[in-house]
Structures are given as structure tokens and as C-alpha cells.
């Protein structure tokens, strides 16, 4: 143990923090350390594999003797199963096995719910057999829309006999479950009703958001093989290899060691690819029944129906403020539908972005006959921030204040304040906010801003191994999966840093559960959870290497340094190059293990403000410039300035890609994406990517990305998350820009031409 001083805080604004009981063997990358590989813009080490088609995704896996599976799904959103007759299907050409996923008497509660799975020699044979399965349903009343489901006379999704999902402590009335009032974390404070009455300026507004489906370009799917020891080997598209291992082990009462899971590449997950999923379980059952490997990959329709979604929301927001813009009251009521599932709350950002003395929230899950929601890139936050930030802009207008000024008045977060400065400069905010709205023909330009928040989420107990071979090869091994954030490359950078090598000299093996357990890629926690473990593993390996070669270099091991591909002594004298040094090892390879333990103990200063805020939340601000065509209702996003933080920026190139991806997804949420359920039949009308519109590259504006490096002292590499906050404020900023351009806040997502033109017609904008 030793006493050390760290430099912590946002870059350029760091402070010295004492660390009393620092363990000797932990190297901490704080604000003063000089790094060569980490922080350097580094091209993805698998970029070539991806663009050349060499990367193998789950859908590319073909095993010898593999069968193709398909799932028979309910066409009805609400029905009782009277009869399942699959005898005919079983005798059809090529059919090898059927596994039931539902039984006679079961109630189906959404279109697409699984009935049974069929495996056959070819996909077409499986599909033909699926068509031959006869399921008799007694169709029951259904409800498709949030606000219809809230009414007293609505059909009820969960009748008396059947268990309502979710923790049972909340009251359930018809389809409405709740309210949840924040629990311990977001407990109500002050006297909101009185504060609203007392407020000098107040707004009372309603917002709505549609259901967004994940629309991963690679569908959910698995290929499953029965192994010699009675377990399974599984190739699957997952954002958590570990969760697939444990789900399958539990389902089949196996040891986790009997379940081996591979995932080399994922074509998108966004929160929808946790756990084994029914398709993996069905493939595993069929593999056992048929004694052949089985592949089940969902089609696009199933992706939309059962692949997960972001719940809808209806939000009623009340804000009160004093004359100088200080928030004095904040109240939100959120109703959302996660279909047959729960988790439609959206109140968190109302508690974590701004300070306010009087605050309360009421969150309700409303059941509808639709596929269950899944975690989706910052659950609850894009919808919550859309409404909160829309309300903030309307409050600013009433106050006669600049919207960013009002935000600064209420947001003490040191990073966020720096980000607002950077953003307003790069977006030319001060000038454009005054110069616009400006109209040329039918085109009106506007500019709008929004903030975002996310949390420091970390998965402990994950590990990594670093191996150094006598031929000089350095390998890092982890059962993590690269969801697209680029963890492969970041791991190479971290290890290269420790050995004084270049990232491309490190070989990275990930995506296989036989290696040390990795974190799930959700909650924006992959890099923050795993890089400290890899860092530690590399240091252990380096120490072992030094010890192994010190004797032949005639230098004490503790005096050896690894720098720029060389091995040098204390004085910087070059002794040899890395490869020659490794060649002096006796063993074929040495191995270092590292594990992610608790965040660094003893940095007590980080538990106090202002560092505490840095340690608990991450986020960013975005400013949107839009061109609104008031003749057609078409909104074009011309530019987004996005300023974010993610602790230490490990790889600026990949970090910027994360932000761009988040922004583009946010544009889809703002303008295009909407699951359409037919009211009368409860069926989805756009279960494809032609009429369910995700943004194309043609819709990507100029995206100007900036980062504020933050040295949190939270872990040895200083990495924090990024993927989720990147998409949180985009739709809100675009809506606020449309508000600036037209004087009418859109209030409903997506901002389609029909919605906007209707709002403008109702608001008198089109009455020329």
C-alpha cells in the first residue's frame, strides 16, 4: 500500500485527489498519464473482415448435416388455442422433428406468439410443413392501442386467471399497472402541488411517442449442436454470451461448462439480444430430438413482432420555474405500453438531468396485445428526454430566455456545462438562434438543443487472459462479444499500451464462452467493465515476461520497461526488441489473468461533488439544425452537433462512430419509425423494412462529434460508457428545432408529415 495522488476531472479542469491506500500493483490511467495506444484514433482491427464479407455472422454458419428450423406463430393477437394438429406436418417431406412451444388451452396474447417449431432438411420444407400445421383458435377480443387499453371498457390483456408480469407489489386495474413512484432512487421530494401553484412560470403539456422496433439488420438466430458430453455448442447472435450459457444450462439442467456459446460478430442488438430466447431453446430441443444440428433464424416479420421494441409513451409533464429560470416544480405522469410485458417507464431522466427541489413521478405500464418490449438503447430515456426537453423549451419560451441558458441554470454537472459551451460554439448557436427562424419559399430553418443522461454501469467479476508466446505473439482472450462498439480493437489498444506495442500487433480472441467470462453488452458497460480486467491481465503477463527474461538480459526484472516495441532499462537504454526478448523465455508461453473487481477503493474524493457527479452519470448534449418544409411537412435534419463524454475516450475514431450511430438511430426515432398495428385486427401492418422506415445513409446529416475526456478515477483505465446516451437527445433536439422553426412544438413522435401538417393546421400556421 502506498499513498498516491491522481489527477481527476474533465480534461483541462482536473483536480488533484489523494489516494491513501493505493495498492502497489495497480497502474491507474488518470489525467496526467501519457498514453500512446489508448486514446489514439485506431482503425477497427476487424474493419477489413467486415467490409470484405469475411466476418462470419450467425446467419452464415452452416454445419454438416444441419437442419433448418422455423417457428409457427399465432396470427391472432388474442385467442385461446383449441387444438394443435401437427401430425400431417410431421410426415411431410424432409421434416425431422417438431417441438411444441404452446399447448391446447393456452392463451396467446400477441400476434407472432410461438406455437411450435419444426426442423427439416431445407428451410422451404420446414416452411411448407409450417403451413400444414393446423391450429384451431377461439379468437378473443384484443386491444392494440395504448390509450384505448387505458379505458375502462377495453378488453383486458391479462384476465383474472393469468399472472400479470412484473413485480406484484403494484396495483393493477384493467390493463393499467401502477403507478410506480420512483422507489428509493427517484423518491418524490418537496411539495410539488404547492410549488406548481407558487411558480412564476409554468407549463402543463402532453407528449406522445410511438413504438420503435429494434430492427437489427442481422435477425435473432442460433445454430445449435448437441455435444458429445450431452451438452450444447451454440452459435448465436447475442449481446451477452454469458446469459445464453446460463439460460440454456438452466433450461436443460446442465453444468455451464457443458454449454459452449460462440458469437464472433453481431449485426446489431440494441438491447434486444440478451438471453437465449425462445428460438435458441427451440433449436436446442430440436437438436436433441433429431440428433442433428439445427438452425433457427427469425425472418423480418418475426423480428418486428417478437424481436423486441421500445414501448410507446403518453407523458403529461408539469414544470414550474421562478423568473430567473430556476426549476421549482417538476411532475411527470407516464403511461407506456410494453405490449404484454412491462418496463414502459420513462421518468428517470426527469430526476437525473436537472436539479429541482419539488419533484415527483408516476409511471404506469399499460398492457396491450402486442409483442413484449425489450431493453432498447437507453430504455425510457429517448422518450422521457423528448418530453422533458420539449417542456424545457416551452418553459424557456414563456420565460423569454435562451433555452441553453435555462438548462445551464438547472444543470450543475461540470461535464455537461463544458459540453454546452463546446456545442453552442460548433453549432453557431448564439447567432443562428437569433437569425432563425428564417423562411425561404416553403423552407423554414430552425435550431434546437437537448441534453441527455446515462449512468455509470459496470459488471464486476468479468475477466480476461493475456498470453505472450515465445515467438513474440501477444494474445488477449475474453468471452466478450463485440456488439459493434469496437471492444475488439479497444482490448488490443489496452494490451499494446502495456507492452509498448502497436494495437495491430495484438491478436484478440473474443466471442467464445470457453474464455474468461465477459460482460454483457448492455447498459453501455462493456468497455468500462472489461478494460480494467484486461489492463490487469496484461500487467501480470508483462511482469511474468520481465521475470522470465531478466536473467538473460542481465537487468533486474523490476528495471525492465517495454516501450515502442523495445525493451529498455531504467535509464532508457535499449536492451533489445520485444520479439528477441520474448525469444529468451524458457516456457512456450506465459499467461496473465486479470479480473474486474470493485471500482478502485479508497478514492474518497470521488465520492464528493463535483467528482461524484462525474462518477455516477455520463451523457452529452446535442444541437440540431433542421429545414422544415411547411408545404409538405417534411423535416430535413441538416446538421447535428453532438458533444459527449465516456470517461477516457479509448479510441476517438470508434467513439465517434458510436455517436454517429446513435444520432442516426435517433433521427429514425424522431422522423420515421413507428410500429403500425391495425386497430380492428390487432395485426402489424408494416412488419418489413420497406414501410417500417429506418433511416438510410441518405438521411444522415452532417454529424459533428466532440468529446470531453473525463478522468473519473473509477477504474484503472478510466473508461466509461457511451452507446446509449448517444441516441438519447437526438429526437428531442430535432423536435425543439422544429419548434424553433415553426413556433409549434410537435409533441408527438415520429414527426411524420401527416402529424406535422395536422398540428400546423390546428395551430393556425397554415391558414394563409
Amino acid at each position: 500500500m502506498t499513498e498516491r495522488t491522481l489527477e481527476l476531472g474533465p480534461a483541462g479542469h482536473t483536480v488533484k485527489v489523494g489516494w491513501k491506500d493505493a495498492p502497489l500493483d495497480v497502474e491507474v490511467w488518470d489525467g496526467q498519464v501519457v498514453l500512446h495506444q489508448v486514446g489514439k484514433p485506431t482503425r477497427r482491427i476487424d474493419a477489413h473482415h467486415k467490409v470484405s464479407g469475411m466476418s462470419r455472422y450467425t446467419t452464415d454458419i452452416r454445419l454438416p448435416g444441419m437442419l433448418y428450423g422455423t417457428i409457427v406463430r399465432s396470427p391472432h393477437p388474442s385467442a385461446e388455442i383449441r387444438e394443435i394438429d401437427d401430425a400431417g406436418a410431421l410426415t411431410m417431406p424432409g421434416v425431422r422433428g417438431i417441438h411444441r412451444l404452446a399447448s391446447k388451452g393456452d392463451i396467446v396474447r400477441f400476434e407472432g406468439q410461438e406455437i411450435l417449431a419444426i426442423a427439416a432438411d431445407s428451410l422451404h420444407q420446414a416452411q411448407d410443413a409450417a403451413r400444414a400445421v393446423k391450429v384451431t383458435y377461439a379468437v378473443l377480443p384484443h386491444v392494440a392501442e395504448l390509450e384505448q387499453a387505458m379505458r375502462d371498457d377495453s378488453p383486458v390483456v391479462y384476465g383474472k386467471t393469468s399472472g400479470v408480469p412484473g413485480k406484484n407489489s403494484l396495483p393493477v386495474q384493467g390493463n393499467v399497472r401502477g403507478p410506480a413512484t420512483g422507489g428509493r432512487r427517484f423518491a418524490p421530494t418537496g411539495d410539488v402541488s404547492q410549488a406548481i401553484v407558487d411558480a412564476k412560470v409554468r407549463v402543463d403539456l402532453t407528449f406522445r411517442t410511438a413504438v420503435q422496433t429494434h430492427s437489427c439488420l442481422e435477425p435473432h438466430g442460433s445454430v445449435v449442436r448437441v455435444t458429445e458430453d450431452g451438452g450444447f455448442e451454440i452459435w448465436t447472435s447475442t449481446q451477452s454470451i454469458a446469459s445464453v450459457v446460463s439460460d440454456v444450462a438452466r433450461e436443460f439442467s446442465l453444468q455451464k461448462s457443458q454449454v459452449r456459446v460462440h458469437c464472433d460478430y453481431i449485426g446489431g442488438g440494441f438491447g434486444s439480444k440478451f438471453g437465449a430466447g425462445i428460438y435458441t431453446m427451440a433449436a436446442a430441443h430440436l437438436a436433441r430430438i433429431t440428433k442433428r444440428p439445427v438452425r433457427i433464424v427469425l425472418d423480418r416479420r418475426a423480428e418486428h413482432l417478437v424481436g423486441g421494441n421500445r414501448p410507446s409513451s403518453l407523458q403529461k409533464v408539469k414544470l414550474g420555474a421562478s423568473e430567473d429560470g430556476t426549476l421549482t416544480a417538476l411532475e411527470v405522469r407516464v403511461w407506456g405500453s410494453a405490449g404484454v410485458g412491462t418496463g414502459a417507464g420513462a421518468a428517470s431522466p426527469y430526476f437525473t438531468i436537472y436539479q429541482c427541489a419539488n419533484r415527483r413521478s408516476f409511471e404506469y405500464d399499460v398492457f396491450t396485445n402486442a409483442g413484449p418490449a425489450a431493453a432498447f438503447r437507453a430504455p425510457g430515456h429517448p422518450q422521457g428526454v423528448f418530453a422533458l426537453e420539449g417542456a424545457m423549451d416551452q418553459l424557456s419560451q414563456k420565460l423569454g430566455m435562451d433555452p441553453i441558458e435555462v438548462r445551464l441554470r438547472n444543470d450543475p454537472h461540470p461535464t455537461r456545462r463544458l459540453q454546452w459551451d463546446i456545442a453552442r460554439k460548433h453549432a453557431d448557436w448564439d447567432r443562428l438562434r437569433k437569425m432563425w427562424p428564417a423562411r425561404v419559399g416553403d423552407i423554414v430553418r430552425g435550431i434546437g438543443a437537448a441534453s441527455s443522461v446515462w449512468y455509470n454501469v459496470v459488471e464486476l467479476g468479468v475477466g480476461a487472459t493475456v498470453e505472450v508466446y515465445r515467438d513474440g505473439g501477444v494474445v488477449v482472450l475474453s468471452a466478450v462479444q463485440d456488439i459493434g462498439g469496437g471492444i475488439r480493437t479497444v482490448l488490443a489498444q489496452v494490451v499494446a499500451e502495456v507492452f509498448g506495442l502497436q494495437a495491430e500487433q495484438i491478436s484478440v480472441k473474443i466471442g467464445d464462452s470457453v474464455w474468461p467470462i465477459g460482460p454483457g453488452s448492455g447498459g453501455s458497460k462493456t468497455t468500462a467493465s472489461l478494460t480494467p480486467a484486461v489492463h490487469q491481465a496484461a500487467i501480470v503477463a508483462r511482469k511474468k515476461l520481465a521475470a522470465a527474461v531478466a536473467h538473460s538480459l542481465s537487468v533486474p526484472a523490476e528495471d525492465l520497461r517495454f516501450h515502442e516495441g523495445r525493451v529498455v532499462d531504467k535509464a532508457g537504454e535499449i536492451l533489445t526488441d520485444f520479439r528477441s526478448a520474448a525469444a529468451k523465455m524458457r516456457a512456450e508461453k506465459i499467461v496473465g489473468h486479470g479480473e474486474r473487481t470493485d471500482d478502485m477503493p479508497g478514492i474518497s474524493a470521488a465520492k464528493e461533488e463535483p467528482l461524484r457527479a462525474l462518477a455516477t452519470t455520463i451523457g452529452g448534449v446535442q444541437i440540431a439544425q433542421v429545414a422544415v418544409n411547411i408545404g409538405t411537412g417534411v423535416v430535413t435534419v441538416e446538421k447535428i452537433v453532438a458533444v459527449h463524454d465516456c470517461g477516457r475516450v479509448m479510441n476517438p475514431l470508434q467513439a465517434a462512430s458510436q455517436v454517429r450511430g446513435g444520432v442516426i438511430q435517433g433521427i429514425g426515432y424522431a422522423l420515421f419509425e413507428e410500429r403500425l398495428l391495425d386497430k380492428t385486427t390487432g395485426r402489424m401492418l408494416n412488419p418489413n423494412l420497406e414501410s417500417y422506415k429506418i433511416p438510410t445513409i441518405a438521411n444522415a446529416p452532417e454529424i459533428d462529434v466532440h468529446f470531453v475526456d473525463v478522468y473519473s478515477g473509477l477504474n484503472s483505465t478510466g473508461a466509461m460508457g457511451l452507446g446509449e446516451p448517444a441516441t438519447v437527445p437526438t429526437a428531442a433536439a430535432i423536435a425543439n428545432a422544429v419548434f424553433h422553426a415553426t413556433g409549434i412544438h410537435p409533441a408527438e413522435l415520429p414527426m411524420t408529415p401527416e402529424r406535422l401538417l395536422k398540428t400546423w393546421r390546428d395551430g393556425g400556421l397554415l391558414s394563409e
Binding site: 396470427p75 416553403d442 418544409n629 408545404g631 409538405t632 411537412g633 417534411v634 430535413t636 422522423l671 420515421f672 403500425l676 391495425d678 386497430k679 380492428t680 385486427t681 395485426r683 401492418l685 408494416n686 420497406e690 414501410s691 422506415k693 433511416p695 438510410t696 445513409i697 441518405a698 438521411n699 411524420t752 408529415p753 401527416e754 401538417l757 395536422k758 393546421r761 397554415l766
Partner: protein, 322 residues
């Protein structure tokens, strides 16, 4: 394979045989099980069927020419720039490289209920229209009593504005020629078919008169790129030496099951110059007679805006020509 061999193959396969261009629309319909042919006859390799050539007084486009060929062809760009533009902005580059002229004109509507086997609607021979009180944001605003789907073809309105003719070849080699305008069927005329072809008839080619019009095309879509139009407008006018309009057609797309002529606008333009005032008035009356549905009034607004944009394009060309 020749046209006659293709026709014979189709006749042999009756019922249940269907002609195929690139199959872009057909595959979609097959996947959804909306069509279940026993036999598909590909027309793609018929010699000459992709040719685009200028004759004395017409520009002839073979029905298997792809949208991209049409968009890139110098004669098309010169005679009918609006057609080149419509072809060059439909769908996506990959689709344009494959999709054919005939397939484009004969493609089935995109109504989500029509494309869902689970909705036995009027157009599939069923008893009701689900869109009438369902989702119909992008449905018709004219002829909205029964089926309210719209024609999906962007080339249709342009060809009508260009006064193009279509040559149809029937069983036994019998040919007939009709104006493209007559090819399309209003929903109220026939709710189950979009084009007026008899069993076994094929589109062979389209001819556009060279005695040219000044023509322009404009499309409005919610998502710029790879999206269907909400409204599109094609205009073809003839002018005299003083810039006075002597004849003209203003045709709206995506507003009805047929390319919809805005007769009121056409009347208003006749014998006038395209002044600001004329353009504004022409745009204002373009949607005359529209009967929008509960949730698609915005299309009436968009028609106005789109017609104005298109007429302004025409004016710029006229100004350049004088």
C-alpha cells in the same frame, strides 16, 4: 424466347401462370403468399425487349428496359427528362438496376392490408376495405368510396403527362395499342385489378411522341431516399413562341388507383403564361374534388405544394427555352 413463345408458355400454364420482369414486386407478393403461381414466365431475355430507340416521331421504350436504363438514356433525358427523373429516383439503386418498365406499370398496390394475407380485403376479392377505418395515411384522396389503395407506379403519371401509348401483345400475336392513360383502372371501376390487360396479354413497349412537350416531375416523400412518394406530380405542356400554353397535362401520382389528371389545373393553364399568379391558382385547384379520408388530409396540402413546385420547374424550362 420470343414474345410469342412467352405468350404461348403463359397460355399453356393457364390458369396459374404469371409473367415476370425482374420479379421485385412478384417476390414480395410470393413471400406474403398474395400470389401463388404455378408457373412464372420470365420476359427478361426476349430479344429487343430492353431496347430504347428513337424513330421518326416517337421514342420507343421496350417494356423490359430497366428503370436505370431509362434514367440514363440520352434520348430519354432529351425528350422526356421527367421520365428519366421519375425512373432515376424510384426505389433504390439496386432495385432500379433490375426493375422493369412493364413491371413498374403493372406492380400491385402497396396497401399494408393488401400485402397481408391475414386481411381478406376487397382487392383480394374479400368483402371489406380495412384501410377505410384503419391506417390510411398514405392512401387515396380521390375516388375514395371503396378500395382506397393508390397506384404504386411513378412512371405511370409521367407517361400519362407525356401522352404516351402502350403496345400490348395478346394470345396468337394479336396486338393493340392504347394510351397509357387507358391502361389503368380506377378502384371504383374494378377493385381487384389495376391495369386493363386481358388474360394472357403482355406489355410490349411504350411510345412517347417526339413532338415534344416541356415536361417536369416532382415527388414528395417522407424519407428522402428509398421511400415511396406521398404525392408525385408530372406535367407536360406545349407552348407557342410567346410562352403561352397551348395544351397541357398535369397528372398526380399516389393519390388514386390511376394517374390522376388535375383537370381544373389543366383548364386554368390553357392559354396563359406561367406567372406567379397562374402557378398559385393552378396549385390551389389541383386537388379539386378530393375526398380525403380521416387521416390523410395532409396529402391535399402536399398536392398543392407539389404542383406549385412542378409548375415552377416548368416555368424555369420555359424561360430557358424562349
Amino acid at each position: 424466347m420470343s414474345w410469342d413463345e412467352a405468350l404461348a408458355a403463359l397460355a399453356d400454364g393457364e390458369p396459374g401462370a404469371i409473367a415476370k420482369g425482374a420479379g421485385i414486386d412478384l417476390w414480395d407478393l410470393l413471400k406474403e403468399e398474395i400470389v401463388k403461381p404455378d408457373l412464372m414466365v420470365s420476359l427478361l431475355n426476349i430479344p429487343g425487349a430492353k431496347d430504347i430507340a428513337k424513330s421518326d416521331n416517337t421514342l420507343v421504350i421496350g417494356s423490359m428496359a430497366t428503370l436505370q436504363m431509362i434514367a440514363d438514356h440520352t434520348d430519354v433525358i432529351q425528350v422526356a427528362p421527367s421520365l428519366a427523373q421519375a425512373a432515376g429516383s424510384a426505389a433504390s439503386p439496386a432495385i432500379r438496376n433490375a426493375a422493369t418498365l412493364a413491371g413498374n406499370l403493372c406492380q400491385r398496390p402497396r396497401c399494408g392490408y393488401f400485402r397481408s394475407l391475414l386481411h381478406p380485403c376487397l382487392r383480394k376479392g374479400g368483402g371489406r376495405c380495412f384501410a377505410q377505418d384503419g391506417h390510411h395515411q398514405n392512401h387515396a384522396i380521390f375516388d375514395t368510396e371503396g378500395c382506397i389503395a393508390t397506384s404504386a407506379s411513378s412512371l405511370g403519371p409521367v407517361l400519362v403527362a407525356l401522352e404516351a401509348m402502350v403496345s400490348v401483345r395478346g394470345p396468337g400475336g394479336a396486338s393493340r395499342t392504347l394510351p397509357v392513360e387507358k391502361l389503368f383502372l380506377m378502384a371504383s371501376q374494378n377493385p381487384t385489378r389495376e391495369v386493363d390487360l386481358r388474360t394472357g396479354e403482355l406489355l410490349e413497349r411504350v411510345s412517347i411522341p417526339l413532338a415534344g412537350t416541356i415536361n417536369a416531375y416532382h415527388k414528395v416523400r417522407a424519407r428522402d431516399g428509398f421511400d415511396w412518394p406521398m404525392v408525385e406530380v408530372a406535367v407536360g405542356v406545349r407552348i407557342d413562341s410567346r410562352g403561352i400554353i397551348t395544351s397541357g397535362r398535369v397528372v398526380l401520382g399516389a393519390v388514386a388507383m390511376v394517374p390522376w389528371r388535375a383537370f381544373e389545373t389543366e383548364k386554368l393553364l390553357l392559354n396563359t403564361k406561367l406567372t406567379n399568379d397562374v402557378i398559385r391558382k393552378g396549385a390551389d385547384v389541383a386537388a379539386a374534388g378530393a375526398r380525403p379520408l380521416r387521416d390523410n388530409r395532409h396529402k391535399v396540402d402536399i398536392v398543392r405544394s407539389a404542383v406549385r413546385e412542378t409548375l415552377e420547374k416548368v416555368r424555369r424550362i420555359v424561360d430557358g427555352a424562349l
